[in-house]
């Protein structure tokens, strides 16, 4: 194929996804989609293999490929132009039931030429807890509607009885219908643009370009792997739930042009909904792999081929039905993602050539808190605190992590404005800001996480309730790199009003710990949430003291941490005391050598 045509088709595929994402957002009325960007759109070849991975949550790229393949198997001989299929069963391909895949065949002149697939976290899925994350579920049967594949649009016509059946099982069916319509519209745009591409260049040419693109990605990734050192790197992630701790263990081995991710030794599947299925784990390890190793390589099936995953059946990373998985995306999947980010980061950091591509672990611990109840307009609202997507960047070998800097698995994640939340829920923010001392200390500091506190406001029922799947307040999860510290862990507190008075904003962090289940936010009580910082890079004693002083001035690092961790002494006005800093650092280093050698 001539290179001009190849490049044009490649870029057109990118643009088709971009346009489909815009469509999805324009039609959706859900904050988690529009404000949090908890979405994904990608294109797949006729056999269901990944053709062009899109933006959004990247751990869906491979799972949606399996969703396409599963639909192809289930509906063999019955797939027609204009069909749209729904799949959200985690044991078939999905990550959890509330992340619904709508996959649609793309035909041209009667032939199946490709698939488009997208997901959003739907407003509700009918689990025992509102919003989809269902920490009180003990099995998949209480995690809401779950389908291994069902046709919801038949040759362009909505299969209304099927859709009505789904809507009959969820809260706020009008919002779930809007979610479905946004995804149908998204797939329609993808289909029409792919058909236009085929009309212009010919279906065979487009398919040949896709095949060449996949071969190119495989060649480029294998070449990159060959340039990296052989070896093996380990990571472990602790997941705490209600006082119980599970562990995800990873050994990543790189040999020649192959990568193996081995999760042997991870905990057995949990009775809590923190487990994930094998497809979810595969997606979880690819989420950091795409941006960290393939930042200049097209994300498609060619990237998948050099990679192998070992995940023992019955483990928390490959659970067996009917284990509950509704919290998976912020639990085992995220831990797989973190562990893979850590090992890939170590491998890159081991290479003098690729060290600048290495990163400490970014925002490693989502807090899934869904507010629900009657709002100030009299309607029912369900919605996540999108601050969970705000994140914090991991430090790199040449720069600090970005404060409130997002996360690795979703390059477009973000949070809603405070005013948007307050307009839709009967709550008021006491504050939302960067969290001092949350970024992992290091030569380069991890990005700061944040903190917020909310109280009920103009709530017709005196307040609302919330579902919290809040792990990560016992163990830090954003690992440091090359001597950097981890980012500080999360915290969740219920500050109770005493004697009818308001809770002081400054006291909210001292409330009672909450982490798992359904809780009230009523009267004058407050909910406090702190989210983790990114991991640091390098020895904190090597950090430029001027940078530490600037961090203190910017309220990102405390005077105490500057002294005790960074060995930096500041004067009463925040000015750097150079001699005292040099003395303290010399003393700190000497003290290290006085410790007992094992």
């Amino acid at each position: 194929m001539d290179p001009m045509t190849f490049s044009i088709i490649r870029h057109r595929l990118f643009r088709i996804i971009d346009e489909a994402v815009i469509t999805l957002k324009h039609v959706s009325g859900s904050a988690i989609t529009n404000e949090g960007h908890d979405l994904m759109v990608s294109l797949y070849r006729a056999d269901g293999s990944l053709l062009m991975g899109g933006v959004g949550f990247l751990h869906h790229l491979t799972s949606a490929a399996e969703a396409c393949k599963s639909i192809i198997r289930r509906f063999e001989g019955r797939i027609r132009e204009g069909d749209v299929f729904l799949l959200n069963d985690p044991y078939t391909a999905a990550l959890h039931t509330s992340d619904i895949y709508l996959v649609a065949p793309i035909h041209f002149e009667g032939e199946l030429i490709a698939w488009s697939a997208c997901f959003v976290h739907v407003y509700d899925i009918g689990a025992m807890n509102p919003g989809g994350f269902s920490p009180q579920s003990a099995d998949i049967f209480t995690e809401g509607f779950s389908s291994p594949g069902i046709r919801i649009v038949d040759q362009g016509e909505m299969v209304q009885d099927v859709v009505d059946t789904l809507l009959n099982m969820v809260r706020s069916p009008e919002m779930v219908m809007l979610d479905l319509r946004s995804m149908i519209a998204c797939n329609n745009v993808a289909r029409e643009r792919m058909q236009a591409l085929a009309a212009k260049y010919g279906a065979k040419t487009v398919d040949a370009a896709g095949s060449e693109l996949i071969a190119q990605s495989e060649t480029l990734l294998r070449a990159r792997l060959k340039e990296l050192p052989d070896g093996s790197w380990q990571s472990r992630q602790y997941l705490d739930v209600n006082g119980e701790t599970a562990t995800v263990r990873l050994t990543m081995t790189k040999s020649g042009d192959r990568l193996v991710f081995d999760f042997t030794g991870s905990s057995e599947q949990s009775r809590h909904a923190i487990n994930c299925t094998k497809w979810a784990s595969l997606g979880g390890l690819f989420a950091p792999l795409f941006p960290l190793l393939c930042y200049d390589i097209t994300w498609n099936e060619g990237v998948i081929r050099p990679v192998e995953m070992v995940a023992p059946e019955g483990a928390i990373v490959n659970c067996t039905r009917p284990a509950p998985v509704s919290v998976a995306t912020v639990a085992a999947i995220q831990s797989v993602n973190n562990a893979a980010c850590a090992t890939i980061g170590k491998m890159l950091a081991a290479s003098d050539r690729y060290r600048e591509q290495a990163t400490s672990v970014w925002h490693a611990n989502h807090f899934a808190i869904f507010k629900f109840g009657r709002n100030q307009k009299g309607g029912q609202s369900i919605g996540i605190f999108t601050e969970t997507f705000a994140g914090a960047g991991g430090a790199r070998s040449f720069a600090d992590g970005v404060d409130i800097g997002g996360e690795i698995p979703n390059p477009i994640s973000r949070m809603a404005n405070v005013e948007t939340v307050e307009a839709n829920f009967p709550i008021r923010y006491l504050f939302r800001r960067r969290m001092k001392d949350s970024g992992g200390p290091g030569l380069w500091r991890g990005g700061s996480g944040g903190e917020l506190a909310v109280v009920p406001h103009k709530a017709p029922d005196g307040g609302i309730h919330y579902v919290i799947s809040g792990k990560g307040d016992r163990h830090p999860m954003s690992d440091g790199l090359a001597g950097g510290f981890p980012g500080a862990p999360n915290k969740y507190a219920w500050a109770k009003a005493r004697n009818g008075g308001d809770v002081e904003a400054a006291d909210t962090a001292d409330g009672d710990a909450v982490s798992w289940g359904v809780f009230p936010l009523m009267g004058k009580d407050a909910l406090y949430v702190r989210w983790n910082g990114g991991g640091g890079y390098g020895d904190p004693l090597d950090r430029d003291p001027e940078r530490v002083a600037a961090d203190v001035a910017g309220d990102l690092v405390s005077v105490e941490a500057a002294r005790d961790i960074y060995g930096v002494i500041l004067g009463p006005d925040g000015e750097l005391d150079v001699p005292a800093t040099q003395d303290l650092r010399a003393i700190s280093r000497a003290a290290r050598l006085e410790r007992v050698v094992q």
Binding site: Q234, F485, L541
Partner: protein, 92 residues
């Protein structure tokens, strides 16, 4: 003379041994665990990281120092009794 082969940002390969990149101190044969001969500073996370890191999770912050120059070679978090994480670069 070619530059030393890299094992990590803080470690290099030197004559078949893992060595501190900062001072060149040879820690252990490359096939052995260098962490076993580094200076281990293991303490509760809240003590090592400050108030923001205080939890009831019992997690430890491990820092591995070069016994010659005191540079931090690596860190890891662990529950008590956990084996060290093993990272290995194969330059053979």
């Amino acid at each position: 003379m070619s530059p030393p082969r890299s094992i990590s940002p803080t470690l290099v390969l030197s004559a078949g041994k893992t060595a501190c990149r900062a001072c060149g101190h040879e820690l252990a044969p490359v096939e052995a665990s260098w962490k076993d001969v580094a200076v281990l500073d293991e303490r509760p996370l809240g003590e090592g990281g400050g108030p923001m890191f205080r939890t009831d999770g019992g997690v430890l912050l491990r820092r591995f120092y070069c016994p010659s120059c005191g540079t931090t070679l690596d860190t890891e978090t662990a529950l008590p009794g956990e084996p060290f994480l093993v990272d290995r670069v194969d330059w053979s």
